[in-house]
């Protein structure tokens, strides 16, 4: 095969030389024709193979399939973008955009919402509850940038859900209540880090309005029987309305049997109500 190819090439060379000199006959030798046929066959073969194997649109824009760009752009949206939310909930977006959360997009907390924007009535986005969704950003971590608002969760109203005090769309911290804590600061401080933190003082102390004016003349009431604590802590007690913003999935109310627990003692002979240690 190679030998015959070489022979053809030599024949081609001699023929071209002869043609240049004008001496040789103008007839093309058979070997040259054979060579031409081989080249033509290879060329046509390459062309056909290219047609078969090089995909459509390959090389239109570069060394790749131009159709792949469109394929990459076809993926379905999951996050709709806050502009979509603003179309139906302008009030919420307006509140948020005027608050410290102005740069937090709706879907950062509520999750991907394009299912909801496509079928608003049928699919609802998430409603974050409890403390964890807020703590994801606001838990103290040494690596977070200085100045970013962070809390130490054990010391910041431990069992209370964040939305009890803060509006997530306008999270400016509420004014600290200077009602009872103005005078009873020690009690307020121990209560703030105790499981009783979400309870207002008035839940247990029925306080006459005049107490602030004449503290000694109008003394607030104190509970005086076991059944008062039992309204929350008895085995069959319903959690009262006053603690509804507590995340009861994280912190459960300790339950006791009022008849057998503690014998003849009243509750505050063993437990300090402003920081009850029993869990």
């Amino acid at each position: 095969m190679i030998k015959s190819l070489l022979r053809s090439v030599i024949a081609l060379r001699t023929w071209i030389r002869g043609w240049r000199r004008g001496s040789s006959s103008r007839k093309i030798p058979t070997q040259v024709i054979q060579l031409g046929v081989i080249f033509l066959a290879v060329g046509v073969g390459m062309f056909l193979l290219r047609q078969k194997f090089v995909p459509e649109t390959f090389g239109d824009l570069g060394h790749y399939r131009a159709a792949a760009v469109a394929a990459n752009a076809e993926l379905e949206l999951r996050y709709a973008g806050w502009q979509e939310c603003a179309a139906c909930h302008p009030d919420k977006v307006e509140t948020k955009n005027a608050s410290f959360h102005r740069n937090v997009s709706c879907e950062a907390c509520h999750g991907p919402a394009s299912d909801h924007t496509n079928r608003p009535m049928r699919l609802r986005p998430e409603l974050p509850t409890g403390r964890e969704p807020c703590l994801a950003c606001h838990r103290y971590l040494a690596s977070r940038p200085t100045g970013f608002p962070q809390i130490i969760e054990e010391r910041h109203n431990p069992v209370r859900a964040c939305t009890g005090c803060h509006d997530a769309h306008d999270p400016t911290p509420p004014e600290s209540i200077q009602e009872c804590s103005a005078c009873h600061n020690t009690i307020a401080r121990s209560k703030a880090v105790s499981p009783h933190a979400p309870l207002d003082c008035e839940v247990c102390h029925d306080t006459p309005a005049e107490h602030k004016m004449q503290p000694r003349a109008h003394v607030p009431k104190k509970p005086f029987e076991r059944e008062f604590c039992g309204t929350c802590h008895a085995r069959d007690a319903q959690p009262p309305e006053v603690i509804r913003d507590v995340d009861l999935t994280v912190y459960d109310i300790p339950r006791i049997d009022l008849i057998t627990h503690g014998g003849t003692f009243v509750c505050w002979q063993c437990h300090y109500q402003h920081s009850p240690e029993a869990r």
Partner: protein, 263 residues
């Protein structure tokens, strides 16, 4: 060249010009109109050149970008497939550097230090600690594109490095070539997979999912060039750095306040 022009021939040649001008004058606008008609969604890739900025000093390591990326792009759930992830760097006073990224930071980071100041971890004082979000750098000179034997990964006209999923043969050359570890092999399709800057979003005028959910604007998306974008502003106002500049990959993810320890 002995040929010369006589007057007759010259005039005859000149007569061809007016019709030619008319023909070209008609073809040009018709072509332009046809091109405009083709473009229904009004997106012209040659008019954009995308890039991203990451402000390390703003990142709080909440991991929302990682979650959003996984959801938006249908990235496998396993905690070792990521198109973007967040790393936590801890530099101790003795010079030791510790980097961790539990599950890519998708669920945030556990506290590592106690609450003292300066913070202490494992009995050692921390000098500085910070989060660094990472993703494909969409290099202007991408090594992954150079090694692809079939042309299944490429830099698009708008500067985004994409993968042709239908054409990828799953040889993993690009995964090895990437100096940033930004690629993985999708276990379902056995093709290379990587960040696309959410190409399906940016071509519709939306932000990439990670940028959309970032609560502190640590991620800034925009374009390089004349167009005013938040990225252009960031690039103008900040000292910029890129990852592994010595690799000559010319990354298009620009970091501000990047610590020298970040690799």
């Amino acid at each position: 060249m002995s040929q010369t022009y006589d007057r007759r021939k010259f005039l005859a040649e000149m007569l061809k010009f007016p019709p030619a001008t008319i023909v070209l004058g008609v073809i040009g606008p018709v072509k332009l109109l046809a091109a405009a008609g083709d473009d229904d969604d009004g997106y012209e890739p040659t008019e954009h050149y995308y890039a991203m900025g990451i402000r390390v000093e703003e990142c709080i390591g909440c991991g929302k970008c990682v979650q959003a990326c996984k959801l938006e792009n249908d990235v496998p759930d396993e905690p070792f497939y990521f198109r973007t992830w967040v790393e936590r760097y801890i530099v101790y006073t003795d010079g030791e550097v510790q980097v961790d990224s539990p599950e890519g930071g998708i669920h945030g980071f556990p506290p590592v230090a106690d609450e003292s100041f300066p913070p202490v971890a494992d009995g050692k004082e921390i000098l500085r600690t910070f989060f660094v979000p990472k993703l494909c750098n969409h290099c202007d000179n991408p090594p992954c594109v150079q090694v692809c034997p079939v042309g299944a990964t490429f830099k698009s006209q708008d500067g985004v490095v994409l993968v042709d999923e239908d054409y990828c043969i799953g040889c993993r050359y690009c995964i090895q070539a990437c100096p940033y570890g930004a690629r993985f092999l999708d276990p379902r399709t056995h093709t290379a997979n990587k960040c696309t800057f959410c190409y399906h979003r940016i071509t519709k005028g939306l932000l990439p999912a990670c940028v959309e959910v970032c609560p502190t604007q640590a991620r800034v998306f925009g374009e390089i060039g004349d167009r005013s974008t938040p990225l252009n502003r960031m690039m103008r106002m900040s000292h910029l750095e890129v990852l592994k500049p010595h690799m000559n990959t010319e990354p298009k993810v620009f970091y501000t306040a990047l610590d020298g320890e970040v690799r």
